[in-house]
């Protein structure tokens, strides 16, 4: 691991003092191409996007359009073929402890218990803590996601939602300043999903809303409820940003109430129109 946790640079401090916005993520003209048997394949093309410190941004788009790929360039799991990504002002060259990652498919190690899955990540990232500090941290994080009673179970014994919570706890435990969540609530039922939304916002609030969160989702309601901005992507290949939608709803937002907010409905319709434009009846007919 090359990147270290570093205090925000001097430049960031000065900007903050001057009341200027500080970008925690800067994506600059990023193109990602994969080598495939059929030749070069551009997954995303020339994407630029800034995410401010403390902002919650959702990325939404049809499956296969390159959302995970874009997330992976921020996390450092995938190298852009062109362009660059800055995280906290530093060029991303690989994964780093300043960015916590929740994979789309949980990626838990099946032979480790819930506790061990989190512990190994903590042990590996937070080298400065001693053993008992690490243990306490893991336990606290498990309690936070209501998994403490299940700490000795193996991932194979958990439901999809529980696995997702373990993956989230693992990312949270290392207390990164940037959280990257790839469809983190996709496998959850509506009730669990709602309570996880609240948990996520609670954590974000606890931290003075300092954490930057980028989240991939399919769920329009979820995106509006959680985000400050929503990035809508075009369909791939060579996907780009189609639009960025602001969500100026005042926080704290209440699930039951915001759905009646005219602003909410406007954004909802706008997003729906953008994602569904291919599915008009005329299109379906012409396909038959």
């Amino acid at each position: 691991m090359k990147n270290n946790i570093e205090a925000p640079t001097l430049e960031m401090h000065i900007k903050e003092d001057l009341g200027l916005t500080v970008n925690s993520i800067e994506i600059k003209n990023v193109t990602v191409s994969f080598k495939t048997p059929k030749g070069k394949f551009d997954a995303v093309k020339d994407i630029s996007l800034n995410v401010r410190k403390g902002e919650i941004v959702s990325v939404i788009g049809h499956s296969g359009c390159g959302k995970s790929t874009l997330m992976n360039t921020i996390s450092g799991m995938v190298k852009p073929s062109q362009g660059e990504v800055l995280a906290n002002g530093k060029r991303v060259t690989g994964p780093g402890p300043d960015r916590g990652l929740v994979f789309q498919n949980y990626s838990l190690l099946p032979w480790l218990t819930v506790y061990q899955n989190i512990y190994e990540a903590v042990d590996s990232v937070l080298k400065d803590l001693n053993k008992s500090e690490k243990k306490t941290l893991v336990k606290d994080t498990l309690k936070m996601v209501n998994l403490y009673e299940h700490k000795d179970k193996l991932p194979g014994q958990l439901s999809g939602g529980m696995k997702q919570r373990v993956a989230i706890a693992r990312a949270f435990a290392i207390n990164p300043s940037i959280l990257l969540l790839d469809e983190p609530f996709g496998a959850l039922d509506a009730l669990t999903k709602s309570s996880m939304h609240i948990e996520l916002l609670k954590l974000w609030n606890l931290d003075n809303r300092d954490k930057t969160i980028v989240m991939v989702t399919h769920d329009i309601e979820e995106a509006i409820f959680l985000s400050d901005r929503i990035v809508v992507m075009n369909n791939g290949p060579a996907a780009t940003v189609k639009a960025i939608v602001d969500v100026p709803l005042i926080r704290p937002r209440h699930k039951k109430e915001i759905v009646h907010d005219p602003e909410y409905m406007k954004i909802h319709d706008q997003l729906l129109a953008m994602l569904m434009d291919k599915l008009s009846i005329a299109d379906i007919k012409s396909n038959i």
Binding site: M1, S75, M77, G94, P95, G96, P97, L101, F103, N105, S107, L108, L109, P110, W111, L112, E120, A121, D123, S124, V125, L154, G156, Q157, R170, I174
Partner: protein, 259 residues
Amino acid sequence: MKNIQSNILAIVYFLCGIGALLLFWEMSSRFTDGELPGPVPTWEVFSELLKDPFYDFGPNDKGVGLLLWGSLVRVTYGFLLGTLVAVPFGILLGSSKIAMNILNPVVQILKPVSPLAWFPIGLAIFQSAPSATVFIIFITSLWPTLINTAFGVSTVPQDHKNVAKAFGFSKFKYVVKILFPYSLPHIFTGLRLSIGVAWLVIVAGEMLSGGMGIGFFIWDSWNAGSMEKIIGGILIIGIVGLLLDKGFSVLQKSFSYEK
């Protein structure tokens, strides 16, 4: 309740199978006019052997238990040596493309050779039949373990590697927490196959080397003209082979994880 029921059922099926075998055996015996001894006379000779299985009246007259024990000891030595070589090489092959490219052709050429063909080489090297027998078991045990270990190591899923990358696992942590746990079930599959083939080969090896082991027992019984003893020996070999396989299957299960 379900479990007990299915266990009882399994026992019933087992007894049916044994019953069918005994019936077939008895019929074959009658068909050949007793040239092939039936279950009853075999049992008479065989139970006599089992009364004192560990007697030792010199090099060419030992109890069947003692001979069996000798075979097991040789298989164990050969198998352990083979494992000690095959697992590290398997890891090397599985984790390095270059090593794979260099060693794979060698493995491919040597693997199909009957282990018995190595017997003269073993004799030449060690100048002793028992050591040469251990040597062929060593060779036998190499291939399945090597190949399965290499397969396990080379197929660690990208998901697991991503965890290591994302959280910056050290090389050591990667090996201990990801590579080994993932490969272990594959390694044990290799070991189980190896012990199976080793037990097949030991009998043939001892028939070749003479003077020792359960293989010699069979050959000696043939020279003594006792079909009853030969069939008894076959049953012993079968049962021991089954127990070895069951033992390794238990090991294999205990080192597997739930998916």
